[in-house]
Every structure is written in structure tokens, then in C-alpha cells.
Symmetry: D2
Subunit: 338 residues, 4 copies
């Protein structure tokens, strides 16, 4: 296989970012796109074959793998269908809206049974800075990693309607940080304590969501993690990480496409961090698909597994409980067998 | 009063730092020093009158104010004696080892009754960067301040013997951060949740202490604070602060006496942060005494009150309980009347 | 025209960088590549039609524009051939090895006569940071721009054989800085003074070249420029720019793909700047071709003209003379009519 | 000698900065101040004995050393008088207004004959960052030091009247940079080329001065220096230095008393560099006097000699000539014997 023949299901907010990236990846050939709004995609991507339904696209024999960029509530069904059609799967996190881990494990088992692979879209793992810290962390003994700190703030509130479809702060947003914390530390999370509130938009309570969150993680060996989230950082998309231990500290600050310093009579100004996830993680979104394609072309295992999705989801479920009960909640650290 | 005539009680680790500073403050005249090790201080400070006991020094009529730099377990008694001798007091935090707030309030009442003032040595409030953030915070409405984050790490473990005299991590070290969090936010803390462990030196358990701590604070209006502490940051004394809210973010990173960048074939290197509290807070230690002297000379109120000590201590006591019970603990936010 | 149908002439060191970029630009269709080493390009780019000579490629009617990435000594002839074949031209700087400006102007006149356009590969103009400074400079009155400073250092010495083909330090390297200085200031250069020497490799004298250079520019309105060059910065490709004036200062420091700070017992280390021009200016190389394609597709003027090449070359010729005579040399600031 | 008994001559702009520092140096006892405006100094420094003339102060036997902080045109005479009175001398640069080096050498010979020492106020040598770079430079072989770059910009224009008394840009300001370039490189300067103009205040031409200057230095071994000066950087006192060579680069950027970053909806802002020489070099002004006192108390040679003043002045004289003739000017690199 020279190029990965790929189909895309879902060309909405996130899907379009991925599609633009896919056009620039020489190892991927975009064979087809499926979206209910077929008129829109036909106009937008005139060189690609378009389909109204996922089923039509999955029936295309030439397609070796599909990307599932539809809303979370459809992930489960589409993963199963894709697997049964013999397509490898790249699926945006989370794997499903289901809190029922058993169901998620069954999806993974079905995927395995069909001898295809699934990669979960934990794109941040592919960020240049975070993966550099991961590489440095691997050089340390696990017990030397004492505290991981993640700051993750969105630039603005989401519409309530969207939240209902993709999940609230913990499932849509903090989920990434739970995965990142576990990824960087190389250890499973055994307890989570969460404080959260609506400090920005009190109407979020109506849909049982929050906009500000602090989480304290305890890893299985007693080391710690801290996450702080906000839905509205007016200065942009704030994504930072710090790893502390007996070796010292590794620290990734925010980045931007320009560090130009402008000194005036008043003060020095510099551009804010990247304004949103599309710009901030453009490189990471690109890299995760390059890696997906390369893994499949070379017959290797894809880099982020369904297990990773399950382990992050367990923490998210416990986090919800902690938020509601006001108490730290224990988490099962045993990795499920698929 | 042109210059503040000052006596110093205690010329140990911290006392000597202060004494060096006092020599450089034109508005203070150092009249006498009392320390049990009178031979040492006589040799070290030949131009100053030396005393073996605090009582002798407190008997000197010419002295208008005293600094109490002795170990924490003596603060209580010395404050009372100084007040009764009619001396204004600058006392290193905490006010006492006593967990009994009633006792502390009585000390403050006695001080008030003697018509002298007491300033508590929360030196970090005088740090240039943190006080700049405080000034910026004051320009905001209180509800705009959503999250304060403090990283505070010591460069190395303390001897167990010293810990026994000055208190464990929470009372000796995190205490500063509780005060700083309350100072920056301008709000009282109503809940604290603490996780802590001995990730560096397991023998600390023998003296019921920890070396690593994460604390989540909830302020009286629902806003949040996060503190992370470690006893051993091999790269120096790590002191950072970040204030987040609807306005954006104010962020104070570590500083050093040189930011020289050295680029070599391998990488770029820069000096580590200041190595210890004496160097890091030299300016703050200096400024708090300048302000103490200026306040007394000009007949103003001193800047950090005994109430501030009590409010921080309440959080420390709750933090100890949270650490032991594994649960978040509520704190009385009512400011005591003196 | 939906996509620009492009041919590439020359797939050597620089050509391959461009070709990799071209593959990722959705508005360009790479129709053919010509290189004497046809076996190499056939293997490397199996999906593209390959030609052994420029003539064969220029004969392909479907091609609307060509990129000339061959060595400098062939630019002149290929530009003329391409123009006569009715192809728009993207040509790597400099336009020719010829010191004879009259000849260069004739090339430009022929290009104009053939109703095609030529864009010169002054890629640095498209760098995000430098173009941000250019945009800020445009907001100022010209007389407010007082001093432009450029530091431009290569990571390592070039082989003598290559230098003979592409020109010495001034023609191959400082040429970019002359263009950048003029671009940022929006003013022509009327005097140059150069000091230079072989502080790194004395054998460069054998081929009449230098490895270290300082240039002082005086612009037509009396404002100044400073350039400092070295052929060997062991820490990477050093590319910085600073613009000073009555408004204050705009400053672009080096960048890298990671700003991760690693604090250890010894010091803080960070990655060096990008190691070479390919990585440092990947974005700029990409952007200049995107802009070339967009200009032609939309029927606009291309962004960097042949005049720009001539104006930079004049400074380079004067710089050579200054280096040899030890005196400042005047430069004709009158823009030639084509 | 426990403390250096010091007299100060001249309590103007710079003198007062020094006097404030002297009060904070435990190894110096300020015995007397002489200033024509005796009423002013008596009110300002009530605890110090004041004199109307230098002669009166020089007659005080108890004084071991004097600081000459008067305007440049008086340095020569006061140095001679002080030497003859047997006092060690700390003299602000330059040593004299005289372009006649022979005269300066005679002053130094007289000082030597009287067995006293003279230290020149090249305060910037004592700046923490620059002295760190000096220390790093010393670890290199001299031939490894290839280019030193100094940016030195004043925050605002000086009154014409003051310029007449202290000298124009080259003698008052660039002089520091000539000394710094020679100090960092540890090599003498053998050629200087200067371009300068009045880009800010054209009326400076009336007093034969400029406000903007670029200087290219060639050191005795062929290595280079670049200096760029401006009289008006609206963002503060801009003082930067960079040393480049075969080892890589050492770089000192501007500093400030706060690096707090404020992120808002618009951008990130940070405080400007220190606003003026008094704040920027407070530490250096302090350190040079501490070192002066310590050297005399311990019977060592003082750190900045009269030779250093002469070597810098030679470059300044040549720089004036280069500015006027438009040509590079050679400089005698032979160190005079005193």
C-alpha cells in the first residue's frame, strides 16, 4: 500500500479542519466524503466523491480506512458499521456517549474481531511540545515523575445545543486532559477530586454543565496531577503543561504563530496564544493522521488505542461523580482485556 | 520620629537575612540585637549593642519597635512581652504554634490594648511581581477574579529537627500560599481540599509530615485557588503565581539575577531561578521592613495585620484535617473582631 | 483557472524542499519536473512526469508557470526561455550571476514583452514574523523608521565548490538581508559600508570569499541599517530582525518548533533555533508559492518583482566594492523602468 | 581599615544616585559631601558634614578616598587635587574633556606618584548580566570571540546646555559602549567606522551633535564589534549585549523589575525595560562602589583603571573623526605606560 485510501464521515466543524489537513498529506488519498449536507460538501470539495450517508461510503470497496468526525452520539454505531465493512477506523474522542464501559469494550472487541484497527483522536498527544515532554518523561524512572499540571482553557462558551450533542465540560473538554495526564505520566489514575462551577455563564446550570473546573488526580503510585479548565479565556486557547519530579521540571508554555515583541511608550506587547483549537493543534491534527496513515501503510499498530479512550472515560465518569458528591472518587486502574 | 529605633530578637537563619537588610535601610536605626548565642552576634555585628535575652533588649527604653525572628514556638510569649513593654512588633509568621485561635486573638487584643501595632512577616506580599498582580487585581471587580494558581517549591528538604520547631509543610510553607491566595483574591477561603504524600523522603512520615502537596481552595464567592508545593525542586526556589478571570490572565514566572542566554552546539541554557528564599525574596524582605518603618514613622497602620495571620492559620488547620480525612473541609470566613 | 499547472526546473538541494511544499498546496498541480538526474527524480517523485531537460518541460503546453530552482549561473538563460515559452516564472534569487544590470533589465523587459510575470524567491519576506513587522512598519510614517537591524547567520560553512556555483557570502547570503532591509524600511539603500573577514575558515580567501561580515546601510532618507552575518553559528540558523524608530521597537527573535523549558539541577535548557533554512523557512517557502499561485490564478501582480532583485543586487555589488576598498560606497537609488 | 572613609564631590544628577547607594553600603562611611549648592545638600543629607568647595573637603584628614561626581569639565583638576591631597579617587568617566591624551597620561602619572589609586566609573562592567558574559568570555580562547554587539539607547534627549558640559553623544554615551566592547572582548580596538545623524532632533546640529549612531569596530585581531545608539527610545533605557563566536552566542536582553505577563482580549503586555540609567544600573552603580571600597580596604588594585579610560577615549576621538570624514579611522592599540 503506497497511499492510504481514506473515506471521511462527517464534514462539520472538526471534520473540515481534518479534511483540509488530509489534502496536504502525501500518504493519504481522500477517496470519498459522506455528510448529510451533501450539497455543501460537493461545493466545498469538488474534486472528491461525495455521499449523503455513511452507509454509501462504507460500501465503497476501494476505501481502506474511514475517519469518523460526526457528533459523539453517532460514534458507537458508525464504529461498528465501519468495522463490519472491514475499514480501519480513526474516531474522534470520545468513543461513545455511553457511560456503560461494557458497551465500549464490546465495540472494541467487535473491531478486533473484524481484524481492523481503531485510533482515537486524542490529537494533543501529537503536539510537538507535549510529545517532547513525553519523550523526556520516558527517560526518567516512573517514580521520578511526581506532579503533572495541565492548564486547558477554551476561548469561548459553546452553544447549549452543541453541548447537548457533544457532552458537557468534563466529557467534551477535560476528557482530553485526563488522557494527557495519563499519557505524560505513563501511569493510570486511581482517584479524582473535582471542584467546578458556573463562574462565567450561570445558565449552564440549566443543562447541568459547568464552565470552570479544578481537578486533582492521584495516580496509582501516589503521584499527583492537577487540571484547571475554563470555557472562556478571552486571550485565546490556553494549553499548557508542566511535569515536575526529582529530575527538575519540564514546562510547555503557550505558543503562537508570532513572538514579535512590540515596544511602545506604554509597554511591550506580544500576540496572544493561538486563538482556537484549530490553529493551536493544526500541527497535531496533521500529525495524528500522518501517523494513522503511516501505521496502516507499514502494518504497524496505530498509536492511540481504544483502551486509551476507555481509561480516560473512566476518569471522566468519576469526575462527574466527584463534582456531584463533593468527594474524591476512586477509579478502577485495571486495564481491560480486549 | 526620623528613624525607627529598632531591636531585633533572634539572629538565626532568617534573622541574619533581615539584619543585613536592616543595615541598608536609611529609615531604621538598629539599636540592639538579642540572641542566646551572644558571642556569635557580638562578633558578627560589632557596631550593634548585643543582649543575651529578649528581656534585656525589651528593657531598653530607646527602642520603639522589635522584630521577632526567633523560632515559631516562642512567638506567642515574645509578642506579649514586647507589647507589654510598649514596643511595636514585627513578627515572623505564623503568630504562634497554637492551633487555638482564641489564644491568638487574645494576643492580638493584648497588643491592641497596649496601643502598639503588630505586622506579620508575610514577606511575599511585598514581592515586586506579586504586588503588581495585586494592584492589577484591585482594578477588577471581585467577581471577575475566577482562579488563582500558586506554585511554591522549596529547593531542598529541611532537617527533621528544624521541622519539629517550625512546623511541617502546611504550617511552615503552605501557610504563605494560603495568605497569598487570600491576599491576591481579596476574598476569604471557605473550603480547602488537600492531597499530600512523601514522594521525596518517606522518613518524613515518622514525624507526621509530607513533602508534596496539592490544595484546592474555594473562596467565599465560589471562585477557586490551586496550590502545589514540593520540598525539593532541584532547580531552585520555585515561586510562581497566576490569576485568571474574565479580564484574561496575569502571570508571574520565576525570576533570577541573570537572564543571559547561552547558545551552544547542544542547546540554549539560562540560569535557574533564584536558589533559595533569601535571594528570591531579598527585595521583599527589604520592602516589608521599609514599609514597617515608614508606617510607624508616619503614624499609619502597618500593612499586614494579625488578622491576616489568623485567617491563614484557619486554612492551615483545615488543610491538616483534609489531608488526614481525605475530604474537603469547610472554613469559617467570618473575620474576628479584635 | 482553478489550480496553477506548474513545472519545476531543478530538483537539487533547494528544489526538493520546494517540491515537498508544492505537494501540500491545494491550489497547485505539479505537472512536470525537469532535472538532468532524471533517474533520481523519477524514483523520488513517481507520480509526476519527469524530463531530462528544461527544454522538454517548457514544451509542455499544459504548463502555465515554471519554478527555476537550478543553480544561479543558469537563471538568466532559463528565465528567457521560459518567458519565450509563455510561462510565468518563479525564480530563486538572484536573477543572475551577472554584475551587468543592463543585462538583467533586458531579461525583465523580455519577460514583460512576453506578457508573463516573474516572482523572485526572496522567501524571507513571507516569514510570519517578518511580515508582521512589515505590516506594523507600514502603519508608521516612513520618517519614523530610523534603524533596521538584521542578524543572519548560517549554521555551517558551504563546500568551496558550491560557493563557486552560487556565489560567495555577499551574493548568496547577504543578498537576502539587503532585500529584507529595503523591504522592511520601504526605502532604497544609498550607501553601504562593509567589513568582512575569514574568522572561521581562512582557506575561503583562496576563493576570494569571507565567512563573517558587518554591513552598515544608509537609506535614501538618512536612516540606517545594520546587518551582521556569519557562516557558522553552531547553535543553528540565526535569523533575527529589529526595527527601531520614534514609535519604539519591533523585534523578531529566533523561533523553534519547541519552546519547552527543561529545568535541572544545573540550569534551564531549551531547544536551539531551527537548525537550517529548510526548517526555519518552511512556512515562508510554502507561503511564497501559495502567493505565487494565488496571484496568477486571480490575475493579480505577483508579490516580489524583478526590480526587487535588481535593487538588492546593486547593494551587493557596492558591498563587494566596499569590502575591497575599505570605504563606504554610494548606490544608485533610482528605480529602473522596465 | 574596617570601613572606607569617603568624601563625595558633586551631588548633582548622578552624584545623588551614588550617595543614596553609598548609604546602603556597610563597608563605606560617608564622611563629607562637597557641592556648591551647600544649602541643598545640607537639607538633603542632614547626617553628613557638608562643604561648599572640594578644597575644604579634600582638607579633611580623616577622608581616605573621594568620589568625583562633578561635570566632566572639572574632572581633570579635581583628580590632580585629590591625588595631591593623598586621597584615592573614584572618578566618573570620562577622565577629562581634553582630547589631549598626553595630558590625561600626566594626570595618571601624578596619581601614581602620589601613591593613590583611581577607579573610573565604567559602571556597566559591574552589571550582573554583562559581567556574567565577561566571565563566560574569559573561558574562551580570545580567537573564539568573533563579534560583540551592543545596543545602547537613551530614553530621551538631553538639554543642549547639559550636552555642552558633558560632551555630545560619542563622548558622553558611546564612550561607555567603546569601553564595554573592549572589556567583553579583552582586545583593543584598532579601527572604527561611524555613521550618525540627527534623525530625532535636527537642532542638535547647531551644537555639532547627533542623536543616532552606528559604529563598526575592528579589534586588533580582526574580530568585530557593532554599536547602535539612539538618544530616544520611547520604551525606556535599552541596554543589550551579544557575544558571538565559535562557541555559540551569549546574549543579554533588557531587564525590568517585573516580568509579569498580562493577557487580555487584545494581546499580551509586559512592562517596558527599566526607564533610565539610574534604575537600570542601580545594581551596577552599587557594585562598582562596593568593589572600590573592598579593593582599598583589602589593599588590592581597583578594578577599572585610568588606562581603561584612555583606551576608550582614543576610540571616541577616532569615532568623531570617522563621523566627520565618512571614513574608517585607525586607532593606536598600544597601551600607554604610566
Amino acid at each position: 500500500m503506497d497511499k492510504l485510501k481514506l473515506g471521511v464521515i462527517g464534514a462539520g466543524r472538526v471534520g473540515q479542519i481534518h479534511i483540509e489537513n488530509i489534502f496536504t498529506i502525501p500518504t493519504i488519498e481522500l477517496v470519498g466524503i459522506a455528510d448529510a449536507n451533501i450539497a455543501m460538501i460537493q461545493e466545498k470539495y469538488p474534486t472528491v466523491k461525495c455521499y449523503k450517508t455513511a452507509d454509501e461510503l462504507l460500501a465503497v470497496e476501494d476505501i481502506a480506512a474511514v475517519c469518523i468526525f460526526t457528533s459523539t452520539d453517532t460514534h458507537e454505531e458508525l464504529c461498528l458499521k465501519a468495522a463490519r465493512a472491514g475499514k480501519h477506523i480513526f474516531c474522534e474522542k470520545p468513543l461513545s456517549m455511553s457511560l456503560d464501559e461494557v458497551k465500549n469494550i464490546q465495540i472494541l472487541k467487535e473491531i478486533k474481531a473484524q481484524r481492523v484497527q481503531i485510533q482515537i483522536g486524542f490529537n494533543r498527544r501529537f503536539d510537538t511540545q507535549f510529545s517532547e515532554i513525553k519523550a523526556k518523561a520516558i527517560e526518567q524512572l516512573p517514580e521520578n515523575l511526581q506532579v503533572v499540571k495541565i492548564t486547558s482553557r477554551d476561548p469561548d462558551l459553546l452553544p447549549h445545543a452543541l453541548i447537548k450533542r457533544i457532552g458537557g465540560l468534563i466529557f467534551d473538554f477535560t476528557m482530553h486532559d485526563f488522557d494527557m495526564a495519563r499519557f505524560i505520566m505513563g501511569k493510570n489514575i486511581q482517584e479524582v477530586f473535582v471542584k467546578g462551577d458556573t463562574l462565567i455563564d450561570p445558565t449552564l446550570r440549566e443543562i447541568d454543565d459547568i464552565d470552570t473546573l479544578i481537578a486533582v488526580l492521584t495516580f496509582e503510585d501516589g503521584s499527583f496531577g492537577i487540571i484547571d479548565n475554563s470555557r472562556k479565556a478571552v486571550y485565546g486557547y490556553d494549553q499548557r503543561l508542566e511535569l515536575f519530579g526529582s529530575f527538575g521540571m519540564f514546562k510547555a508554555e503557550n505558543i503562537s504563530d508570532s513572538m514579535v515583541e512590540a515596544y511602545s511608550e506604554l509597554d511591550m506587547t506580544r500576540k496572544n496564544p493561538y486563538p482556537n483549537f484549530a490553529q493551536r493543534y493544526r500541527q497535531a491534527y496533521h500529525a495524528e493522521l500522518v501517523e494513522f496513515a503511516d501505521s496502516l501503510i507499514e502494518g504497524r499498530e496505530v498509536p492511540v488505542s481504544g483502551i486509551d479512550a476507555i481509561m480516560a472515560q473512566r476518569v471522566a465518569i468519576a469526575a462527574e461523580e466527584s463534582l456531584k458528591t463533593g468527594k474524591p472518587i476512586k477509579i478502577n486502574t485495571e486495564v481491560p482485556l480486549i
